[in-house]
Every structure is written in structure tokens, then in C-alpha cells.
């Protein structure tokens, strides 16, 4: 093993550190070159900036691989490995250890940024020559910041001497589930990816112009991190459900909220950018939303990395906090000033009020505007709830927390209205529509809503809130299906194509647009799953002696005994429950309590029987090791399965949008071929 040889020589630490310093050098030079390219309008300087961006990306990504090599080969001379590594940790948990603790996660952040920077530098077209150097400068400034952290206060490569023989192993929560291998990277791809649209917005502000054709790539650069953020948040919910044992998937934990804030503003930005693209309206507003999305990701990162909040996500307090705070202050204030000083250069047209006043009520732009306002209110209220404990403590020293009921109370009405708008928007054209035609267009969606409501009522979901949620979901679902069907029908009518041909061609031509619509589908399904699973859950706390059976919602649950499984890095105490229903055997479910030496309390590991109709969720509260008795919490919830079923939908959506388009040959290439 080459990596083992490197480990024995203790060369990985210096190698990683060298790469980090090189990355810092390249990003700094590139930042300077970007500024020079912007101020002097120099194509040469811009080219240098682009090369530096690629070099930064290569070194930052390489440094990550060096760290992975050190983790895998147990090179405890590397500070971070000594902090989170251990020989006993299985290989498949060693690699995710990269983001198990503070300095590694910042290194990983820099690496992901490297991927985005490289993609932007490769894709950056000469036609955005005026904004591009500024955008590169902004991107590389972000890179300088994160690389500087990795090179100083959060240095994961610092040498440890004497070299320890073993380490403590990563945070147990990371070792408990395979999802920990993908939830954090997805979230990082979402968070870090926001820096590209942000830098593009900053680039156009600095250049003082929004160039033609600027919005289409911007929307694409925005939807990529949006999708990753969506997937990351969903996976986080899944992990919470599968590991934490409380039977829920979203706790309105401050750090969960921190990932939700930029999701909300980015969703709003994706839609307002459409209005800007089509109608030339809301330019400044779109920029504000994009910039806010990035600022909120920084805020989210600060929350996880500063130890201000108590959460499953928080790391211990560290030196990184003050530096991060300073950066946040500079970037927050700086972008506001930049926006205010340069906004008029963008020829945004009339003021916001006049732009809005000019919109027609029954039009897609108005529905998007309404959606934007709802998203803004949503963001503001969730943000307020998140920081309220800080506010209360700062003002009068009260220690309090804002619980789920506050957030649920906001999320329910706003969520229902947003889903309703998801049905209204696609049914309305840009510009204006006469009310009669508009009403006719809503017939199908209303029927869809009614059908779904009826189906839910027959299925036993008769609560008014669930029925309302089902109605808006059915309404939005049918309305969005219309979005898939309309281009196909238009082709059949105008071009006289057969259904299958028309469907295929419409899909190929509008692949990215369909990708967006599929995301809508995912959201509607997710909302349905949330509404039903939150509205109809049964909870039972059972204490069973060995051989004893209890019945919950038709399930017969029998405690058959306990097992103690001793692994090298933890002990697992499992209780076995035989589950049957109406005489049908569903097998044995074994929720466990896992004991990690580093953890102050055992970590539960629930056992779940998941079907599209409902989940049976067993979470162990306590068990006697001799198997005399066990206390278990049993939850029965409908529709949770569908929440995770949206993940492939979002993944498909991402794939459709990201799959590179077939390159069309340029006229020059065609002529060259002909000659």
C-alpha cells in the first residue's frame, strides 16, 4: 500500500500543508488578477485569474485527497487524524471522518469550493468579459478566506509529536449510519455552491451592468446548489429519523433552520429570476435574494462552527469563531454597501413599487411575486425564531428556546399558500389573462384537488388540515402535470407529430425546464408526506417482559430477548421484537442502544418497518442486559416512506439539469470542416 508507506514516513502532513499553502497562494494571486482584470479591463489579467482559479482548485482538491489518505492509513502524525481517527474505525467510516470535526470540515469546504471554482473557470465564457473578472475575484476572495482558515486557525495538517499510537475515533453520531457518508457532502455542495451565483451577482454589481444572456447561466448556477441543498436537507431528515430515535425527521433545531434559510431565499430567487428574464422586472430584488442566500449559508456555517447553539451539529467552541464573525461582518456590510452604490448602474428601470404596480393580477409574474413575498415572510419568521434565544439572552439574560410549535404554526399556513401558488403560477401565462379563461384553466387542478381530498378522506384522513393540504397538493399536482403536457400537445397540434414523437422531442428540447418541473413534483409529494405523517401518528410507550406481547394499531409486538454485541469501537445492546399483524409474520425488529466510550449517553438506533402506506418505528428506551424486560417507544405513522421517495425525484431533476447539452458546432467549426 503506497498510502501506508507515506504514512510510515509521516510525509502526508507536510505534503497537505504544502498544498494548502499553494492553494492560498493561487487564490490570492488569482484574486488580485481578477481585480486587475476588472479595473483595467484587461483580458490578459482575467486569463491569469482563470488559470489561478484552476490551480487553486487542483491544489485544494488534492489536499483533501491527501487528508483522506492520512485518515485511511491511520497516519496519527497528522493533527486531524490524531483528533478523529482510530485504528478500530472501519474503513467506510474513516473517509467520512474528513467532515467529522472542525478543521477537516473546513478543509472539505475548501475542496468543494475548488470543484465549483474549477467548473466556473472552465465554463466562464468570453461573452461575459466585463463581469467575469469581478466574478472570479469574488469567488477567489471566498477561496482565500477558507484556505486561510485551513492554513491558520483550523489547520488539520499540523504535526503531532510524539506520534500517538491510536486516536479516539470520530464522533459516534457519524459512525451510526451510512447516511453520514452522503448527507454532509450534499449539504456542502449546496452551501458552497451558493458562492457561484453570489459571485456572479457581485460581479455584475462591480462591473455595473447586467449583461445580455446573463440570467440563464445564473439560474443554472443557482439551481445546482439549490438541488444539492434540497437533497442534503432531505437526507438530514432521513438520518435524524433513522438514527436519533425520536421518530421525527425535522426538529427546527437551529442548525437545521440554518440550512433551511438559504433554501427558502434561493427558491424565491430561482423564481424571481424567471420574472427578470422574461419581463426585465425585479432585477435588484433577484440580486438581493441571491446575495442573501449566500449570506445565510455563511450564517449557517457560523452557527455550526462557533458553538453558539446547542445542537446535534455543533462542534466545540474554537478559534475559528472570531475570524468567521469578522468575515461575516465585512461581507454582510460590504455587500449591502456595494448593492446600494452600484444598483443604479444596472438600469433596473423603475422603482420596485412601480414595477409591481405595473403587473397584472392574473399573470404568472404576479403569482411569482406573491410566492416571493411568502418566502420572504417565511424566511424572516424562521430566522427570528432561530435567533430569538440569542436576542432574549443578550437583552435580559433569559435562557430560553423556541420550540417546534412556533415554527409549525408558521410553516403550516405559509406552506399551504405556497403549494396553492405552485398550482396557480403554472396555469397562468406571462403578461395578462382574461378572468374567464383563467377560471377555465383552473378547472382541471380544482378537480385534481377534489379527487385527492376525497381519496384522503376515504383513506381515513379526515382532519380538516390534512384535507386542506391534500386539496392544495392535488391542485398543484394537476396544474404542474399541465406544464408537462402543454408543449407535447402543442407539438401534436402544430407539427402534427404522434404522441410518442412529440413527447420525446418536447422532452429533449425542454430537458432542463422539465428538470425544474420534476423538482416541483418532488416538493408536492414531500408536502403530502409531511402533512399526513405529522397529522396522523400514534405513539405508545411499552414496557414488556420477555415473551410478553402488546398491541399497537393492529401490530402485535412481542419482546423476545436482548443481545449484547461488543465491537471494537462500541457496544450495542439490542432488544428483539417479533412483529405480526393479523397473523401475518413481519419478522423481528431489533432497535438498539449503542454505547460509545466518548459519548456521555447511549445513542439509540431505532428499527423501522417502512412501507408506502405506513411506518412502524421502534425506538429502545431501556433494556435489561439479561433480557428480563425492555422499555420501547412505538410509533406508527403514515406516508413517511414518500418523503424519502422524493430523493430519487430530486436526483433525477438534478441530472436532467446538469447533464451536458450536446455541443452544437459553431459556424466557424462547420466552415473549417467543410474546407
Amino acid at each position: 500500500m503506497i498510502s501506508t508507506i507515506f504514512a510510515d514516513l509521516h510525509i502526508l502532513g507536510p505534503m497537505g500543508r504544502g498544498l494548502v499553502l499553494l492553494a492560498l497562494l493561487f487564490s490570492s494571486v488569482g484574486f488580485g488578477a481578477g481585480l486587475a482584470g476588472g479595473f483595467l479591463k484587461s483580458a490578459e489579467a482575467t486569463r491569469i485569474a482563470r488559470w489561478c482559479a484552476l490551480a487553486f482548485a487542483a491544489t485544494a482538491i488534492w489536499a483533501n485527497f491527501v487528508m483522506i489518505g492520512a485518515l485511511v492509513s491511520d497516519d496519527f502524525s497528522v493533527g486531524y487524524v490524531a483528533e478523529v481517527g482510530s485504528i478500530a474505525t472501519p474503513l467506510y467510516f474513516k473517509i467520512p471522518s474528513l467532515w467529522a470535526s472542525l478543521s477537516g470540515s473546513i478543509l472539505f469546504w475548501a475542496g468543494v469550493l475548488g470543484v465549483y471554482v474549477a467548473l466556473y473557470a472552465r465554463k466562464a465564457r468570453p461573452k461575459h468579459a466585463e463581469t467575469q473578472p469581478w466574478t472570479l475575484a469574488a469567488l477567489l476572495a471566498t477561496s482565500v478566506f477558507f484556505t486561510a482558515l485551513v492554513a491558520s486557525v483550523a489547520d488539520p495538517f499540523h504535526a503531532v509529536f510524539p506520534v500517538p499510537l491510536d486516536g479516539p475515533g470520530p464522533n459516534p453520531l457519524l459512525q451510526n449510519h451510512w447516511l453520514m457518508a452522503i448527507h454532509p457532502p450534499m449539504l456542502y455542495l449546496g452551501y458552497v455552491g451558493m458562492s457561484v451565483p453570489f459571485s456572479m451577482a457581485i460581479g455584475s454589481l462591480c462591473a455595473g451592468r447586467l449583461e445580455a444572456g446573463w440570467l440563464a447561466p445564473l439560474r443554472r448556477w443557482l439551481i445546482v446548489p439549490w438541488l444539492f441543498l434540497t437533497i442534503g436537507i432531505m437526507l438530514g431528515g432521513w438520518w435524524s429519523y433513522g438514527v436519533l430515535g425520536w421518530g421525527g425527521y425535522w426538529a427546527w433545531d437551529p442548525v437545521e433552520n440554518a440550512s433551511f434559510h438559504p433554501w427558502l431565499t434561493a427558491t424565491a430567487a430561482l423564481h424571481s429570476a424567471m420574472v427578470t428574464e422574461r419581463k426585465g422586472l425585479l432585477k435588484t430584488w433577484t440580486l438581493v435574494l441571491i446575495i442573501t442566500s449566500f449570506l445565510l449559508t455563511l450564517f449557517g456555517t457560523f452557527l455550526t462552527r462557533s458553538g453558539v447553539f446547542n445542537s446535534v451539529h455543533s462542534f466545540t467552541q474554537s478559534d475559528i469563531g472570531p475570524v468567521f464573525l469578522l468575515a461575516i461582518a465585512v461581507i454582510f456590510v460590504g455587500t449591502v454597501v456595494l448593492l446600494a452604490l452600484r444598483d443604479h448602474k444596472l438600469k433596473t428601470g423603475r422603482g420596485f413599487a412601480k414595477q409591481v404596480g405595473g403587473m397584472k393580477l392574473l399573470s404568472r409574474e404576479t403569482s411569482i411575486l406573491a410566492q416571493n413575498l411568502l418566502f420572504t415572510v417565511f424566511t424572516a419568521t424562521v430566522l427570528l425564531g432561530t435567533v430569538f434565544p440569542l436576542l432574549a439572552e443578550a437583552v435580559n439574560g433569559d435562557k430560553l428556546s423556541v420550540g417546534a410549535p412556533y415554527f409549525d404554526r408558521i410553516a403550516l399556513p405559509i406552506g399551504v399558500m405556497l403549494v396553492a401558488l405552485m398550482g396557480v403560477g403554472p396555469a397562468l401565462p406571462w403578461g395578462e389573462m382574461n378572468p374567464q379563461r383563467a377560471l377555465r384553466r383552473f378547472v382541471g387542478p380544482v378537480v385534481g384537488g377534489a379527487v385527492l381530498t376525497l381519496a384522503a378522506a376515504i383513506g381515513g384522513f379526515t382532519g380538516p388540515v390534512s384535507l386542506l393540504a391534500m386539496f392544495v397538493c392535488g391542485f398543484a399536482l394537476v396544474s404542474n402535470l399541465g406544464e408537462y403536457a402543454t408543449p407535447v400537445m402543442a407539438r401534436m397540434r402544430v407539427k402534427k407529430e404522434r404522441l410518442d414523437v412529440a413527447a420525446r422531442r418536447a422532452f429533449i428540447r425542454g430537458r432542463r425546464r422539465y428538470g425544474g418541473h420534476i423538482a416541483h413534483l418532488g416538493i408536492v409529494i414531500a408536502v403530502m408526506a409531511i402533512a399526513l405523517s405529522k397529522g396522523y401518528r400514534t405513539t405508545a410507550d411499552l414496557t414488556l417482559r420477555e415473551g410478553q406481547t402488546a398491541q399497537v394499531e393492529g401490530y402485535d409486538i412481542t419482546f423476545t430477548g436482548a443481545d449484547l454485541i461488543e465491537l471494537e469501537y462500541m457496544e450495542s445492546l439490542t432488544a428483539n421484537f417479533a412483529v405480526t399483524r393479523n397473523g401475518q409474520d413481519y419478522g423481528t425488529y431489533s432497535p438498539a442502544m449503542n454505547f460509545y466510550p466518548r459519548q456521555r449517553e447511549p445513542i439509540g438506533s431505532p428499527a423501522v418497518r417502512s412501507t408506502p402506506a405506513e411506518d412502524l418505528y421502534l425506538s429502545l428506551v431501556q433494556v435489561q442486559p439479561d433480557g428480563e424486560w425492555a422499555a420501547v417507544r412505538v410509533l406508527v405513522m403514515p406516508a413517511v416512506w414518500w418523503l424519502w421517495a422524493t430523493l430519487p425525484i430530486f436526483a433525477l431533476s438534478a441530472l436532467l439539469i446538469l447533464w451536458p447539452a450536446k455541443k452544437r458546432k459553431t459556424a466557424a467549426e462547420l466552415m473549417a470542416e467543410a474546407a
Binding site: T284, G307, L325, F332, V333, H344, V387, L390, A394, F595
Partner: protein
């Protein structure tokens, strides 16, 4: 804006939003989010009648008039092993203080094996079903309760003990 000059409304509005936010973060920075007020501090310690590992009955009432240090621990907990040598030493330094161990979320037989190997200087209670831990509001191990001579909980320490903590709450011997 068609006016062709900086948008001062945006500047003022934006700064009014952003500056207080940053100040709030700065002020909050350094707070300990885990520091929750302990509701039981100053309250009478919950009474108990339990059996120790040698089979002797132990009751809190037995120790009236003496300060008690009650340490919740388990064999699977790393920090408990770190503080164990200190707890082996402590009773000889504080002869007037009663030390008690409580085995938390663990198997009594495993606890016995551990104590036989690592040593023990005071009785350890078995807490079947973890009721005592619930009464005392234990959030994890190790956790140590300092009960004063009047039988009130004076202080609860989360995490491994240090000599400084013992001196602070039991006085210099």
C-alpha cells in the same frame, strides 16, 4: 432606479437589517449553549433506598448531617475512566464526606468486573430501571451531585471531575 445615483434607501434599509444582526452574533459569541440552569440546585436531594453491589441496603437518610458526593458512571463511558483514579483517592482526603457511586445504564456484573480490576474506595449502588437517575435528572455520564449536610443538592457537575471541582465544593481538606 432611474435616478442614476446611489440607492440610499437600500443602503439605510440594508444596514438597519444587517448591522444589528452582526452585533447580535458578536454579543452571543462565547455563550455556553449547554449551560442550562439546574432546577434541582438548592432543592432537597431525592431520597432513595437501594442495595449496593455487596448487597447492603443504602439510604440517603443514613447520611444525614454529612455532605454526600454521588457520582453516576458506567463501564462504557470514557470520561468515567479518566476521573476514576481521582475518585479512588478522594475519600482519604475528605474523610467527613460520604462518597457514593451509581451505576448508570449498565450491567451490574460488568460494573463489578470493572471495579475489581480498577479498584473502588466507596459503595456503588445498583439503580434498577434507572429510576434514581431520572429522579436526579441525570443527562449523561459522568455526572456528579454534591449534596450538603442538610440534604440539599448544592451543585451538579457534568463531565469528568477534576481536583479543582472537588476543592471548590468540598473545601480544602
Amino acid at each position: 432606479m432611474a435616478t442614476g445615483r446611489p440607492n440610499y434607501k437600500l443602503l439605510v434599509g440594508g444596514l438597519l437589517l444587517v448591522v444589528p444582526f452582526v452585533i447580535l452574533l458578536a454579543v452571543s459569541f462565547g455563550r455556553d449553549p449547554r449551560a442550562t440552569p439546574d432546577a434541582l440546585n438548592g432543592q432537597p436531594a431525592p431520597a432513595f433506598d437501594l442495595i449496593d453491589m455487596d448487597g447492603n441496603p443504602v439510604s440517603l437518610a443514613d447520611f444525614q448531617g454529612k455532605p454526600v458526593v454521588m457520582n453516576f458512571w458506567s463501564t462504557w463511558c470514557g470520561p468515567c475512566k479518566i476521573e476514576h483514579p481521582l475518585l479512588l483517592e478522594a475519600p482519604s482526603h475528605f474523610p467527613n464526606v460520604v462518597f457514593l457511586g451509581v451505576v448508570y445504564q449498565d450491567d451490574a456484573a460488568k460494573a463489578r468486573v470493572y471495579l475489581d480490576r480498577a479498584g473502588s474506595a466507596y459503595p456503588h449502588l445498583v439503580d434498577p430501571a434507572g429510576r434514581l437517575a431520572v429522579d436526579y435528572g441525570v443527562t449523561g455520564v459522568p455526572e456528579t451531585y454534591f449534596i450538603d449536610a442538610e440534604g440539599n443538592i448544592a451543585y451538579k457537575h457534568k463531565g469528568a471531575l477534576s481536583p479543582g471541582v472537588l476543592y471548590e465544593h468540598l473545601g480544602q481538606p
